[in-house]
């Protein structure tokens, strides 16, 4: 090698060394919220803050529309091209962890001490993901309506009993003032069904799958309690207490505000609309059908992909994003529930006396995450179909039997999902 060659080699080497020392390593991050400028702005703000706060890592955000997000992750995993940081819907997390898409998340000790249970994504005793917010559902009603019909206003400590709730619906129906007394949101097919309706089943004492073993649905989804739930569920539609599966999506969005429905079972994301429609809107806890009032929990969360070469960097970003000010910022922008008391106190809607503070309380007291198992993805679909069928008049016991069989068969086919 001549002198010139040596010189070039040395220059190249020094250039390479300086880039390694001074340029931050790029980490990719995927997010499900494409098309939502508000979410993007906050997330981009967190990323900019993080990139400026240290020199080792630089986060690059890629966004996907929500409908195509899960498919993109599955495709990327099959192709071995997962990003460093993935965004995952809470109940999907065990499936992705089991499939080997996600690595355990090792946050500094004490990070999640004050967190609500919903945003903590644990499966098999290991933390895989954590959410910057939670979501909750409530019975939305006007105080004036309840007063007019002499219906007691329930509290978190003293919710409506099942009988009380049914009687209230009958009373409102008998008045003929509303198209339907209750709006369950049957127009929202998909994840809304297990998220919003499985808590009713759990309050009756049943469940989508037997949570003690996660190996069978027999007895949980078709036991006595579940059949009772199914009969109650069916009577809501046969007695015309709630609109069924052919509800117009537009009515779901505006029916409560336009006075078509007296009570609406709806999420906190729709709360701002209900508050602007009426000045006496109340957010009431779920009724107690015997086993305590229950609502769903867990929304979108962040985790580290198993194929990431820089898990420490990805973890550092997630830890950074969990600061109370960011949690409060997300809450203010899209009305979601901040997961810590400190963030709740900083937020506009969830602070003490804030208009949606009721949801924070509900999330703390009533929240029960959907079954934490890789099989949930299938179980959710089976449950959705069973509820739609029962609402459309299928035989309750037979439908629940078939659903339980399908779930149990799926678990067996998957060799117990690693349990």
């Amino acid at each position: 090698m001549n002198r010139r060659g040596l010189l070039i080699g040395a220059t190249l080497a020094s250039v390479l060394m300086t880039t390694a020392a001074f340029a931050a390593t790029e980490l990719s991050m995927w997010y499900h919220g494409a098309g939502n400028p508000v979410e993007r702005e906050i997330l981009a703000g967190i990323i900019a803050d993080f990139n400026a706060s240290q020199a080792d890592w630089s986060i690059k955000l890629e966004e996907f529309p929500q409908g195509a997000y899960n498919d993109s992750v599955t495709a990327a995993a099959l192709a071995g091209k997962l990003p460093d940081i993935i965004d995952v819907d809470g109940p999907n997390m065990p499936n992705w962890a089991w499939a080997g898409y996600m690595a355990p998340l090792e946050l500094p000790a004490g990070t999640l001490d004050n967190f609500l249970p919903g945003p903590i994504g644990e499966w098999n005793g290991t933390l895989y993901s954590v959410g910057l917010w939670d979501a909750a559902v409530a019975m939305v009603a006007r105080k004036s309506t309840l007063d007019e019909f002499g219906i007691r206003i329930p509290t978190v400590t003293e919710p409506w009993t099942g009988d009380e709730f049914n009687a209230a619906l009958e009373k409102i129906k008998a008045s003929g003032k509303y198209e339907y007394p209750l709006d369950l949101g049957m127009a929202w097919t998909g994840e809304w069904y297990p998220y919003a309706f499985s808590p009713f089943l759990q309050s009756f004492g049943g469940d989508i799958v037997d949570r003690t073993t996660y190996k069978t649905a027999e007895g949980a989804l078709n036991g006595e309690a579940a059949v009772k739930f199914g009969e109650w569920w069916q009577h809501l539609f046969t007695d015309k207490l709630a609109p069924g599966t052919s509800q117009d999506p537009a009515d779901r969005d505006s029916g409560f505000a336009s006075g078509k429905y007296a009570i609406s079972w709806n999420g906190n994301w729709a709360a701002l609309g209900a508050l602007t429609a009426f000045d006496d809107t109340l957010f009431l806890p779920a009724p107690d059908f015997g086993h305590g009032p229950k609502i769903g929990a867990a929304s979108w969360q962040f985790g580290v992909s198993a194929s990431s070469q820089h898990k420490d960097g990805a973890t550092a970003f997630i830890t950074f994003a969990l600061q109370d000010k960011y949690l409060a910022a997300f809450s203010d922008a899209i009305g979601l529930i901040p997961p810590t008391p400190a963030a709740a106190a900083m937020s506009k809607n969830y602070k003490e006396g804030g208009p949606m503070a009721a949801f924070y309380e509900l999330s703390k007291v009533q929240a029960l995450v959907r079954p934490v198992t890789p099989g949930y993805v299938v179980e959710a679909k089976v449950f959705e179909k069973a509820l739609a069928d029962i609402a459309n008049g299928a035989k309750v016991a037979d439908t629940l039997d078939a659903a339980a069989d399908e779930i149990t068969a799926d678990i067996e086919k998957n060799k117990g999902y690693g349990l």
């Binding site: 499936n95 599966t245 299938v378 679909k381 069928d389 299928a394 037979d398 039997d401 069989d405 998957n414």
Partner: protein
């Protein structure tokens, strides 16, 4: 024997000719065909072979478990069926058949035979598909996979109605616009328009038309009957949902087949009609003895194309009802997608596709046989 011995050399000769032709083809020809060959292999042949192989395994969409061959168990759970005869409940003391208010005998629930009953292992896990009365007994057909059986039934019903319905209507339209009138092209364009629009858009629009409360169809019927018509939830009832989808599907693709019929009509020489006219044939006789025989090959084509398309029914159902209510509109392709992709059971979805393939293959072979040239 003589037939075999005379035909053999000819067959050999033809194969030799075609082989040498294949080899003689210049390289450029092969090179030009290569992209198409590659794409066909990649997107048709490979998936077809994969589906066939995967249907005998337990392959999942997402799973860390290794794939294993499971024999025909996917097909068994898909197609398993059995017959159960129920005897009526009898009064224990008198032995009389217990009847309900309308005089119909009452029966023990099917559930008692199909669930956790060690006496009847052959019925375990099955569900009632349908049943009928036979004397005082009730005969029940049980299926292991009731939803798939419904999908099978719905798809066959769809094909049986759409194939003749759409073909016939298309022929009628073609005859109407095959006249030398002013502005006939406007009608051709109008009839053809739904074909150009994406089926998803058409399905969304028809969802509004069929809306249960203030959809266009309900409003129109209400207007025509001066308000006597009670709005029907067309897509929300088991009785009307499939019919609604059939109606919309016939309307959507009828223009396409109309154009094919039209091209067939225009190949029939005018001289034949003139000859028939001179012979004193009326319009029906002209159609029966000139037009229809002239359309023979077109008819075979239209029938086969409609049948194939009808078996692949998916988009409309996916957009309008997603198979509901109570599986009244579920179809085979919808089930394949639902199982393979949504429920992550690639093996199960593949098994459904293989069954569909075998059905379509059988039916097209039968169609070819029935419509063969007879000498």
């Amino acid at each position: 024997m003589t037939v075999v011995s005379t035909s053999r050399p000819t067959a050999l000769a033809t194969s030799r000719i075609s082989r040498s032709r294949l080899l003689d083809t210049p390289r450029a020809g092969w090179a030009m065909a290569l992209p198409a060959f590659l794409l066909l292999t990649l997107f048709l042949i490979v998936p077809f072979v994969l589906a066939f192989v995967l249907s005998f395994t337990n392959q999942r969409l997402v799973s860390p478990n290794p794939t294993e061959f499971v024999g025909t168990s996917n097909f068994e759970s898909l197609l398993g069926a059995n017959i159960l005869t129920l005897e009526p409940l009898r009064d224990e003391a008198s032995g009389e058949v217990i009847r309900d208010d309308t005089g119909v005998p009452t029966y023990p629930p099917v559930r008692g035979f199909t669930r956790n009953n060690p006496d009847f292992p052959q019925y375990s896990g099955m569900r009632e598909l349908f049943g009928w009365q036979m004397g005082d007994n009730r005969v029940v057909i049980l299926a292991r996979d009731v939803v798939f059986m419904r999908a099978l039934g719905n798809t066959l019903l769809f094909v049986l109605i759409v194939a003749p319905g759409q073909g016939g209507l298309a022929l009628l339209l073609a005859l109407l616009i095959n006249q030398k009138l002013k502005g006939v092209n406007v009608f051709r364009a109008i009839y053809f328009m739904p074909v150009v629009v994406s089926i998803v858009v058409v399905a969304l629009l028809w969802r509004f038309i069929y809306d249960g409360q203030n959809g266009l169809l309900n409003s129109l019927l209400g207007l025509l009957t001066f308000g006597a018509f009670k709005p029907i939830d067309w897509l929300g009832q088991t009785g009307t949902a499939l019919g609604s989808i059939i109606g919309m599907s016939i309307w959507q693709a009828v223009g396409f087949h109309m154009v094919i019929w039209l091209s067939g009509l225009q190949t029939i020489p005018i001289s034949l009609y003139e000859a028939a006219h001179i012979d004193g044939a009326n319009n029906w006789q002209k159609f029966r003895f000139v037009t229809w025989p002239g359309l023979r090959n077109t008819a075979v084509l239209v029938l086969i194309v409609i049948t194939m398309q009808a078996f692949a029914l998916f988009a409309q159902v996916n957009v309008m009802t997603d198979g509901g209510p109570l599986d009244a509109t579920t179809t085979i392709v919808l089930q394949a997608v639902e199982r393979g992709y949504v429920k992550q059971d690639i093996a199960g979805g593949s098994a459904v596709s293989v069954v569909l393939f075998l059905m379509v293959l059988t039916i097209s072979l039968v169609q070819r046989y029935l419509t063969r040239e007879k000498y």
